[in-house]
Symmetry: D2
Subunit: 431 residues, 4 copies
């Protein structure tokens, strides 16, 4: 046991606690027919909490961590302390990138050896704890070799390197019993159209994803393959812009039944959407897979990856997820980082505890709204006109037939109130 977290004890549910405790997240409490833990399926993101040094574009490292270093001893210490944090928090899941768990070696094979050692260590840890793997992923964006893309790189050698990397990460995810495998294309896009062959790059990306799906089936991985949309940053324009864009891409390359989405609030905001929009759209398109629950500052134009702290927003997100039947293999990953001034180990704990409580409050509010039919009843009433046989018949009719009826004066629509403020008041009563 390291002394990194000092005397911070495992956090438990205690609504009346003075100090650190879950005041709302009660893993065993049943909400909408399931334990809260089984609904929310919280995961800690290894990279932000353990590999990010606190830098920003105008400043370097602010955090002092005993595991800084680029050797295997540091990587092992980092893993030890990560699992200590998972235990303190009592989270059921974590997620990793390859590049953030192991030091880069001086060749692909050397990096892979480092990676495999850490995966071995993770396997032991998973055996001896209740923590599980929500998803694994490959970091195909940090190293300079990926500066012009991974699957979409003008250099076929980078495509090859990326393919080999994903194979190893998918193998490791499979071995560790991961529930999902995620692809985020931070460099799949362009900085300037002037040097970019957009059509060729999209085709390569489509082909790459097909190979990943083929390999998943070959090895018998039962988890979901997930794409994570984001419109920009680091790349000026990213191909996986938002849910609707990715869905169009999946259809074009024949993958809409094979691949789902990992949707992040911060990325939704950068794309000009609300989180609930992206979730609802994915649900209706049949591709809702998992979520990254980390907010962006609406007024900072970059990806701020903050821990959630607004119950009304979070409640609307879980509402859409519950309408989809809840998570199957997906979960709630905190792809969130501390503010760079939050230097202390206790800040790591505080941040996650606060976020988990916010999510618990959001989930409970969402479940209650659904149980009370508080929003669905007025929604059904609003569309009730479509349930008549005449209305349904129109959907299989044609313009001329419909026009004849309208021109004959049989149709004269009367606007009805959309009652937005009343519905917002209803939500406010739950949050």
């Amino acid at each position: 046991m390291s002394d990194f977290f000092g005397d911070i004890a495992p956090v438990s549910y205690n609504p009346d606690a003075e100090g650190l405790a879950y005041r709302h997240y009660n893993p065993d409490e049943v909400v909408a027919g399931k334990r809260m833990e089984d609904h929310l399926r919280f995961a800690v993101a290894y990279w932000h909490s353990f590999a990010w040094p606190g830098g920003d574009p105008f400043g370097g490292q602010t955090f002092d961590r005993p595991w800084w270093g680029d050797d295997m001893a540091a990587a092992r210490l980092k893993a030890e302390i990560a699992f200590e944090m998972f235990e303190i928090l009592g989270v059921p899941y974590f997620c990793w990138h390859d590049a953030d768990i192991r030091p880069e070696g001086d060749s692909f094979a050397a990096s892979k050896r480092n990676f495999d050692e850490i995966i071995d260590l993770f396997a032991e840890k998973l055996d001896s704890s209740k923590v599980k793997l929500l998803w694994g992923t490959a970091n195909l964006f940090s190293h300079r070799r990926f500066m012009s893309g991974a699957a979409t790189n003008p250099d076929p050698d980078v495509f090859a390197w990326s393919a080999a990397t994903v194979k190893n990460c998918l193998d490791a995810t499979h071995r560790l019993g991961g529930q999902n495998y995620v692809l985020w294309g931070g460099r799949e896009g362009y900085e300037t159209l002037l040097n970019t062959d957009l059509g060729q790059e999209l085709d390569h990306m489509g082909r790459f994803l097909n190979m990943v799906v083929d390999y998943k089936h070959k090895i018998g991985f039962q988890g979901q393959i997930l794409i994570e949309p984001k419109p920009q940053e680091p790349t000026k324009h990213q191909y996986d812009y938002d849910v609707a864009t990715v869905y169009g891409f999946l259809q074009k390359y024949g993958l809409e039944k094979e691949v789902k989405l990992n949707i992040e609030q911060g990325h939704a905001i950068l794309a000009g959407h609300s989180f609930e929009h992206e979730l609802a759209m994915a649900r209706e398109l049949g591709v809702l897979g998992s979520i990254d629950m980390n907010r962006n500052d609406y007024q900072s134009g970059w990806d701020t990856d903050q821990f959630p702290n607004n119950v009304p927003e979070v409640a609307l997100a879980y509402y859409e997820i519950l309408k989809a039947g809840g998570f199957d293999k997906g979960g709630t990953n905190f792809d969130s980082k501390l503010r760079r001034q939050s230097l202390d180990p206790s800040d790591l704990i505080e941040a996650h505890v606060g976020a988990m409580d916010i999510c618990a409050r959001g989930l409970k509010a969402a479940a209650q709204m659904l149980e009370d039919d508080a929003l669905e009843a007025p929604r059904r009433a609003r569309y009730a006109g479509w349930e008549t046989p005449e209305a349904q018949a129109m959907l299989t009719s044609d313009l001329e037939t419909i026009a004849a009826r309208v021109e004959a004066g049989e149709v004269n629509p009367a606007p009805r109130s959309g009652q937005q403020e009343k519905l917002e008041n209803i939500v406010s009563r739950y949050v």
Copy 2:
């Protein structure tokens, strides 16, 4: 002949003129193998120039026009003066909305009678002038009956009304020899998810569009059916968000071979894209149809619909269009409005003349860049690695085969400069 435009004479090409003249737009000058007029295919938008009163959310009408009024005499006078402007400008095309050319009647049939009278008048005008119809469209957003959508309205009667309206507008477009028929879904979307059934609305929209395509074939309309993407405004969220979103929608409803896109710079900007991005994406997806050439202010968050005035931007747009082979049935519609303080008839002429010159400069620069292979040569060089048999073979290979090669140390990518600044300098030499 009205005296609205006073002594403003038809505008002609004269690069050395002191006063009003085309200094760059020379219709008969051959650029990249075609007359400039045949490349640019300019169209005036009837609504902005003749039906918009100069209002904004905080103020009403500023323009005084002799044709203000809601009777047929006013509508006829408006049409007369519109054609006078087309003659002064020498533009080959115009575009209309039904609601902006005729007064609303007190029933569907009455509105249709008004509409048909104006279409008769247009038919005469087209016979007696060189002006042609680039496209027609239905205004399914201004009247309060459309406040909750047209094809996506919760009330099936509005769906019916919309279907009948589109039928008439498509008939009229066909009759007038229109080259395209455009659908812009300004109210197809939602103000709040709380009262919206997003999945049902999308299905209705897909069905509606299929009916339009069926009807087009039935009547033998040879023009293109075009969707005009826009992310928001007037509606908080619009379904036809951007090119990629619409393409996904078309695929889902089996229409990607039937429907193309009318792409507007202002809407691209609102969606977070450059105009050239949207054009390139549409070209690569095979759905580039026509353009609305009107810029938005990047720093005003609403649709400012200004006349273009930045040659470097316009050149990059025409570059993508030329790479697509130029317009077939599409053209350059100025969906632009005067600033509301630009009160004078001469402002209408100035605005179009300036815009046409900007487009001419952009087209010529784009054509020259293509002819000189100034951007395509470095682009091909950047992707040249993919032309080897080994690289091509990789695209039909699989993860394991590729990974074996990488793990064996055969692949070690070396980053190469993307030369963005150099490419930008090249463009600057042309604009």
Copy 3:
């Protein structure tokens, strides 16, 4: 009594009500030493609720109101129904613009006669009800004469017209016992720098405001003169951009002791600030006057003027106000409008009731945080280093003296955690 609101009864506090009721706003409940009504000082904005027809840039009127019309009978009916709503809501205040309470006449004098008649009517109403006037203001932006500005118009006749209008509005506000007089410069700014003399316009605006202040003193008006900042919309660039900009302007024209600010959440957001930032800045600069409590959609780039519905945001706003000692003459004006699909009279009531409850929840949370010293204690601790005599002495020292000490090695700063997440968690426990 009109039948506009049908059987809607006056709304009262009842936390357990099933239907329409205040669940949180209890006017007589004492919070932080004052009755909630006296803290919040709610006002209804006459213009949005009674004069706005539901239009937007792409569509016209959606609301049907019995008082539509431009004659005095309609204006009187509008006033009657407005006061009926004030009674139903039990709000203590309202606010008006001249142009929204009376029909425009065909001369300045004719408009003034109409205005005076309505002011007479308001005077009677105020005598016979508990409603009071929070503020009056002049609409110097809707009519086309103001299209190029009011005090900043290139035409001195518009300056004169504006001065006369403000005089009358200030007289009327004084007569009705208004607590404040507000100036919002919706057209004070520019559409294009190309035709604007920015320096001359600012000087005219400074001179105009000095005249208003002089006149206030002359007539003995004891209320506050307030400027309402907004960065843009309707004008592309408005001079009263935000709190800091207006403060600089006030200083330049010698008015920083005479004029305070009316700060709106929506306008703060358009300027790139949080509401609490603008409030805190105004408090620290000594110019916090009153607020408009209406949110903007962070993802729509125009002024959406929605009723507040997010308690965490509202609590942070009232926190800054309570830190300033609460409102003196200012109050909470709902400069909010219904969504244009919210057609029903009951929507007007629902919207205000929901908003008032949100504000009440925010106020109570803010008051409790202050009482508990929950945020102030850690804030004081963070700055405690400045309380030492050595630190204070440094503020009256000079660079050389300080540098000598640093170069001698006496100073070696050690970063300490900013604890942002922990502080956010504290706030979450209150909201």
Copy 4:
């Protein structure tokens, strides 16, 4: 002579060159009465070109430079190659930050020793070349000690450290004959209001700046002290938001006659302004000092610091500068960085050469517009009404007197066209 730039020869003016050359920037050509070099006063920013490794928030170093390293030998090599680049470009000026020219030592004194050695080297270089120092500045934002601010840090020791640093940088700037000294407060602001005492921080910042001004006078530095506004990034909210905000700050702390502004296009854009707005505002307020000529991508919400490439934008910027009489001690600093994929030494040269040509084109267009009175004549005509004695008298009158005249019917303003499109067309003829 290093071989970093290989065979790249000094760049000279040659409008007909095939390869690398200035096609528009001709230092000795007289424009508006001055040599172009003396107008534009170009400077290279040491940090972006020589100290930035190509990282972004999702990836590390991409550039390979022979001077990477944190010892004095590397710092000296960096300086040698920097001056080689200045010679190749023929730029008259450069600018530096302390932290980017010297390695950090393990104490303040050690860092100062390193710094002084490089300043010695610079002094030799300046003696032996035509290059001069446009400005120096202190980097008070990169090191973790500044994470919570420099002058505004809650820890007085950081205030002290910052004061000592600025003293040394100002001394060095003075010694090197620098024309200006710049302060950019990248960390002066806040991440969260929850832990911030905004009023105290502003007071400290005001006091700090007064100390700097006092010290400037004490040592007889004749250059300008400049503040560089920026609204956000790295800090969520920065106090020096924009020109108007800084002007208000300067007035509050009695410095509006002592301090001017260094205005950057990219920062203007982040603040929601056009560059020309910020320049015009600064000119009218009497605080226009110098410029950073680097654009932001309007559609990326962070500071992209790109080299300028749009003549129409740049022309409008120089137009405002020429109206202010041109630069006195200020100049045109390229605070621009290569895109991170632009790996080659030649990219550094290309980027600056292209930018200098863009600026030259902009300057020439601006000068010609002024000489032709192309914009000023219509502007004067627009405001001509204010030149009458009656209009001028109104500015010293009062509300009552003016109102009496208006009520008597003597004033009836008639709107006149603002001619925005016509003016935009005029500009287009020059660019």
